[in-house]
């Protein structure tokens, strides 16, 4: 007996208010008795914890943070009875709510949408359970009027004098360098890549590598205004320069924002998800400097 959930959309991506359609496909080698087929669609903002460090702080939050149900839909697909031999397809459909958060897979926070199918079996057989995840895109999330039109390029120059978090007296020991560049915008439409360019103008020590790091910043609090935690973690890290490049040549900064792991700016009563980009320059002698750019992500509204 084999149970599959087939969602009738290749990219499994839906918008709020849209109808989710699919079939439950049962493949059976012989006629099988069952005690009922149930389908349940779930969507929730959940706090999760998979790591091992900082146990104490998280304990508090974890215990008090209750998952926020976004959708809940239950239906019986088939009453108790018999499944004939061969392939049986049972269609289902349900309509999504109009107010939803976009799917996001984070470290501590996640917004997930799932379809659970449960088939009750006899007393001596295990019930068959399957789930399938689907993705919700939420146009307009994080979006403010006219955002896509007003691109604000962000210029930057990296040099020893622009360094922070360095003791002033140590700054002379930092080798001379100057890297300038610009990001075409810090307000990112998720369907567009993150773009910009940089230029190495001078450097006393050879550059080993320049990397573009995408970071998520997740904030949770027990209750509104209560004690909160804020954690920044890396999503991905792309190398954009390998070795010492030619001086004064524009090198693109380019990153396709990964699906699922990024979402539009997410803000709830007691949680928040923001994103940042770091430009990390590694020198041959082991020095490393980082330039941080907070970015605002949004999903462009549908016309």
């Amino acid at each position: 007996m084999n149970l599959d959930i087939v969602i009738k959309k290749a990219d499994r991506t839906f918008f709020p208010g849209e109808k989710v359609r699919g079939v439950v496909r049962l493949t059976s080698k012989s006629e099988t008795k069952h005690g009922g087929l149930k389908l349940q669609a779930d969507g929730e903002v959940a706090f999760q914890y998979t790591g091992s460090s900082n146990m104490n702080v998280f304990d508090v939050v974890m215990n008090s943070f209750k998952p926020i149900k976004l959708i809940e839909f239950v239906t019986d697909l088939a009453p108790a009875g018999k499944i004939p031999e061969g392939v049986t397809e049972i269609p289902f459909e349900f309509v999504l709510k109009n107010q939803l958060y976009e799917t996001y897979h984070g470290v501590y926070l996640s917004v997930r949408y799932k379809i659970n199918v449960d088939m009750k079996m006899g007393i001596f057989t295990r019930d068959i359970k399957k789930f399938a995840e689907f993705v919700v895109h939420n146009p307009g999330q994080g979006y403010e009027q006219g955002m896509e039109l007003k691109k604000e390029p962000r210029e930057f120059v990296m040099s020893p004098s622009s360094l922070q978090n360095v003791k002033r007296n140590l700054i002379t020991s930092v080798p001379e360098y100057k890297i300038s560049g610009r990001l075409s915008t810090t307000r990112c439409d998720l369907s567009e890549p993150f773009e910009g360019e940089l230029k190495v103008e001078s450097t006393a020590v050879l550059i080993k590598s320049i990397e573009l790091q995408l970071v998520r910043v997740e904030t949770c609090s027990v209750a509104e205004g209560g004690s909160s935690i804020k954690e920044a973690t890396e999503i991905q890290n792309l190398q954009i320069v390998e070795g010492n490049p030619i001086k004064n040549v524009n090198i693109p900064i380019y990153m396709v924002l990964p699906r699922l792991f990024t979402s539009p700016f997410l803000m709830g009563n007691n949680f928040k998800v923001e994103f940042e980009a770091n430009l990390i320059v590694l020198f041959e002698n082991g020095h490393q400097i980082t330039e941080n750019f907070p970015i605002h992500t949004y999903r462009r509204p549908r016309k």
Partner: protein, 963 residues
């Protein structure tokens, strides 16, 4: 791609003799598989190549796609990252080079081949896409390490192979995903057509394609990511709608081009550019010129700023690598594949004058003007563009820095383009002068000769012999210089030693000269050039022969006349040397080629005086030829025919009004033939030539000579060796070959299959000739024909063959003809009247005729005894018998005896073939003809006699009817 008709034909002509020029011109243009092989051979190393052992380790690679290993699911806080980094630094310090494993070239090659196979297997057999991607990323990581630069190009070739395989696999997989599958039978019901738009692609396939792009975009390493992105460039066609496709692809490629700038090592960066150029060539042929030129520009900048500038100012301190190479040019040489290919992708799309000048200006405006780039530009762009901008380019060539690419290579490329497309008329000479000012200063003969070769073609095509002469003089000067310089430096070697290894090259230059000799120039002027013959004399015999052959060829093509005996003599000497180079070991094909060449040469020689001394000169020339070209039957036979042609020409010239002197000249010609023919080995040819000559004699009233010649031909006929053909339809022997050779040259036309057939043929011609000749004054009326009959009787014809029969019937025809009042044709008009009425003639004809008839009957009986005749012979025999009946009806007294014979013959023909097979038509024709013969045709018969014949005929019909 660029081949214009003119260029093609040029290389076709050069292709035969002169492989050095032209032929190579476009073969490798944008042809990666061809280039690839060359690069693998060129860039090799003895050193061991460090390979990071992690690459070799199957499990240590990054685990993409596997969720549990996805770094995005791991928690990496900035602090942890910093810690990881420190740890990494520590381990790097500790392990140092230990992490690397050394492999030699062969091992690496094997490793990459293995990976390629493993990739296909992971994809197709185990369906493990994740593993496939891992393998590909592993491979492209290898491209990032450039510690043995000498081997890097080869390594690139190998790794790009793996990348190509990967790109192909993904592409076909998405394609398959897009075909419709019947859900019940699992059979493919519809496939994606070869030409499709993104609208035809199914959603599933598109999603899969997007997935690949997302996955690839998250590869961490720059080089690995770029390589895989480039290898999947072809897959964009599944996603992009037709109207946005071009713009989107241009944008994507532009991004890739700029991203490559992030690679610091110039060698690595430029090989990435090469790979991109390849993918563009394969998948995006419509890419904009802007992108192509920006790719080129990036490459140029990277090479200049990072490798060509003086060491102090080089951006990246790649000194150790550059110092490993002894010469700076050697390091730049590693870039040549990139420069070539990228220039070519740019040149391919550039048909526009402005685009070309844009590129040229860009080159001009940089501070570095290196020949290696200029050379690539010249080679990549259309010859037309080059030739219209030629003055500018010549200036650039002059000032180009030749440290990276030797001047001679540069000028040779330029010359090739000029050959393909001529520059404008008004600047031609200036261009040549400017170029030659530089070229003439090149001292090494080795470098000089290829240029000389190319420009010889250019000058020949565009200028007159005057300029060619200057070029040849310059060449001679160079050769002399080089031979004296070597002999002075090395006293022990002889003076010609200096050009020993360059013989082939020098020969090529001369071949080119003759190949492309300016139109309208004669070979005579060539021989009057100052130093041409001096150069020729420097060559070794075997090379001289090659050149001589090409000279003869050009003569036979151009059909030149010779006023100058000295030139004729020197050319004749060349021909002689070619002829003398033949020995028994020379292959037959070469022999044939040479004999053909000589024959064409002999035919082409003309003497230009418009009086009858011309004929004498020609005859003398024939004598000369016979003396020297004794090796080939075909040539001798040709000489005879040519001499006969002289007689003909003379007749035409004099309008048949001969004087004593001219008659004597004709006699001399005939004598020449008479003397020449016996030296030919092949009896059949000899026989035919005798006959031919005799016909000419008869035509010119030289009866005594004619008699002798015919006698000789009859004698020779007897000597012809018998070649029996087993099947008469399709067989070839040397004889046949020979005949066909003769065909080419003119006068004997039939293709003859076997000796018997050939003899029949000759006998027919002979009898034909005899009819027109008067009877022999001393030996009686039928002296010659008797001789012929004797030969026919004695000739060992094969038993199961109708040849003899046929010959004999022909003799009867002859007798029939001879016994008429008036001959059907003849050279000597009055002669028939002299003999016709003679009783003696008739009686002789009768006796001979009767004898032959007996012989024929005997023959027929003999034939009947042979039981297993092949159907072809049976048919032949039937035909011969019918012919005979025809003759008999026509020319004989139809007395009872004769009619009996005819009836008997009819019966025989009946036995041999059924009547039906002959067809009623032929039967009736025979009867009607015999009827006409009796009825009215022959006016000699009295009415009484006619009646008698008619009775005989009726009798005959009745008898036949009874049968």
């Amino acid at each position: 791609m660029f081949s214009k008709p003119a260029e093609v034909s040029a290389s076709m002509i050069t292709g035969q003799l002169n492989v050095g020029v032209g032929n190579m011109r476009r073969k490798s243009f944008l042809n990666w598989p061809a280039k690839k092989v060359g690069y693998l051979k060129k860039y090799t190393t003895e050193k061991n190549i460090p390979v990071i052992s992690k690459i070799l380790d199957q499990d240590a690679g990054q685990n993409y796609g596997d969720d549990s290993y996805d770094p995005r699911n791991k928690i990496i806080t900035p602090e942890e990252r910093r810690k990881m980094r420190l740890e990494q630094l520590d381990t790097e310090k500790k392990q140092g080079r230990e992490a690397e494993q050394y492999m030699n070239q062969q091992e690496l090659l094997k490793l990459l081949e293995g990976l390629n196979e493993e990739l296909s297997e992971a994809w197709n057999v185990t369906n493990d896409r994740v593993k496939s991607l891992k393998i590909v990323i592993k491979c492209s990581k290898m491209l990032a390490t450039n510690l043995v630069p000498q081997f890097y190009p080869s390594m690139f070739v190998l790794v790009s192979e793996v990348l190509d395989t990967f790109g192909r696999l993904v592409h076909t997989r998405i394609r398959e995903k897009s075909s419709t599958i019947d859900p019940i039978t699992n059979r493919v019901t519809a496939r994606l057509p070869t030409k499709f738009t993104s609208a035809d692609v199914s959603e599933d396939a598109k999603e899969m394609c997007r997935n690949w792009f997302y996955k690839v975009a998250s590869v961490r390493e720059l080089i690995g990511r770029l390589c895989v992105e480039m290898s999947l460039l072809a897959c964009h066609e599944y996603l992009l709608p037709e109207d946005k496709k071009q713009a989107a692809l241009d944008k994507e490629v532009s991004r890739l081009i700029r991203s490559i700038r992030g690679i610091g090592d110039p060698l690595v960066a430029n090989y990435c550019r090469l790979y991109l150029a390849r993918k563009i060539q394969d998948h995006i042929p419509t890419l904009s010129f802007e992108n192509r030129s920006s790719l080129y520009h990036d490459m140029m900048e990277s090479i200049y700023k990072q490798s060509l500038s003086p060491l102090e100012t080089i951006d990246r301190i790649n000194h150790d690598v550059i110092y490993q190479m002894n010469v700076p040019g050697q390091y730049i040489d590693l870039f040549v594949p990139c420069i070539d290919y990228i220039s070519e992708t740019m040149g391919k799309e550039c048909q526009d004058e402005t685009q070309f000048t844009f590129i040229l200006e860009k080159y001009q405006n940089t501070n570095w003007r290196d020949a290696v780039f200029l050379n690539a530009l010249i080679r990549s762009f259309d010859a037309k563009l080059i030739s219209t901008n030629i003055l500018n380019i010549v200036q650039l060539c002059k000032v180009a820095n030749d440290q990276t690419c030797a001047k001679h290579i540069l000028y040779a490329s330029l010359g090739q383009k000029l050959c393909a497309s001529s520059p404008p008329q008004n600047v031609k000479l200036e261009v040549l002068n400017e170029i030659w000012k530089v070229v003439t200063k090149i001292e090494s003969l080795n470098d000089y000769l290829p240029i000389s070769n190319v420009f010889m073609e250019f000058v020949c095509k565009n200028f007159s012999l005057k300029q060619v002469n200057i070029l040849v003089n310059d060449l001679y000067k160079h050769i002399l210089q080089s031979s004296t310089s070597t002999s002075s430096s090395d006293a022990s070697s002889s003076s010609s030693n200096g050009i020993e290894h360059l013989q082939q090259e020098i020969q090529n230059v001369l071949l080119t000269l003759f190949e492309h000799l300016p139109i309208g120039e004669t070979i005579i002027q060539v021989f009057h050039m100052d130093h041409l013959m001096n150069i020729f004399d420097l060559l070794k015999l075997s090379f001289q022969l090659q050149v001589s052959q090409s000279i003869l060829k050009i003569i036979s093509i151009r059909k030149m006349t010779f006023d100058d005996p000295v030139v004729l003599q020197s050319i004749f000497d060349l021909a002689k040397s070619i002829h003398d180079s033949i020995n028994p070991l020379t292959p037959k094909s070469t022999q044939d080629e040479i004999s053909n060449l000589l024959i064409r040469f002999i035919t082409a020689v003309r003497f230009n005086t418009f009086n009858n001394t011309r004929f004498e000169k020609e005859l003398n020339f024939m004598v000369e030829c016979r003396r020297h070209f004794h090796h080939f039957d075909s040539i001798k036979s040709h000489l005879v025919q040519n001499t006969l042609k002289i007689i003909n020409d003379l007749n035409v010239y004099l309008n048949r009004k001969h004087s004593k002197k001219t008659i004597d000249f004709i006699k001399a010609c005939v004598a020449y033939c008479h003397v020449t023919i016996p030296s030919i080995d092949d009896q059949l040819i000899r026989c035919k030539l005798y006959l031919l000559t005799s016909q000419f004699c008869a035509q010119n009233h030289l009866l005594a000579q004619c008699d002798v010649l015919i006698k000789q031909s009859i004698q020779t006929l007897f000597e012809i060796p018998l070649v029996v053909m087993t099947t008469t339809t399709t067989t070839t022997t040397n004889n046949v070959d020979h005949e066909e050779n003769n065909n080419n040259n003119g006068m004997i036309v039939e293709v003859i299959k076997s000796t018997s057939d050939q003899i029949i043929n000759v006998v027919m011609i002979l009898i034909n000739t005899l009819i027109s000749l008067p009877n022999h004054p001393e030996h009686g009326v039928l002296y010659l024909i008797r001789g012929l009959v004797k030969v026919i009787n004695d000739f060992p014809f094969p038993k199961s063959n109708c040849a003899k029969l046929k010959c004999l019937v022909a003799v009867i025809t002859y007798l029939n003809c001879k016994s008429q009042f008036k001959l059907p044709f003849g050279f000597v008009n009055q002669m028939d009247e002299l003999f016709m009425e003679d009783e003696q003639v008739e009686s002789e004809c009768l006796t001979v005729g009767n004898r032959i008839l007996d012989e024929i009957v005997n023959q027929l009986q003999d034939l009947e005894l042979i039981s297993d005749l092949d159907p072809f012979t049976i048919k032949k025999r039937g035909e011969v018998i019918l012919e005979l009946i025809n003759e008999l009806c026509f020319g004989c007294d139809l007395n009872r005896e004769m009619i009996d014979l005819i009836v008997e013959l009819f019966k025989k023909s009946n036995q041999i073939v059924e009547w039906k097979r002959f067809g009623d038509g032929i039967k009736r024709a025979v009867m009607v003809e015999s009827g006409v013969a009796v009825g009215g045709g022959n006016s000699r018969l009295t009415i009484q006699e006619q009646n008698q014949y008619k009775q005989g005929l009726v009798l005959l019909f009745n008898k036949i009817h009874d049968e």
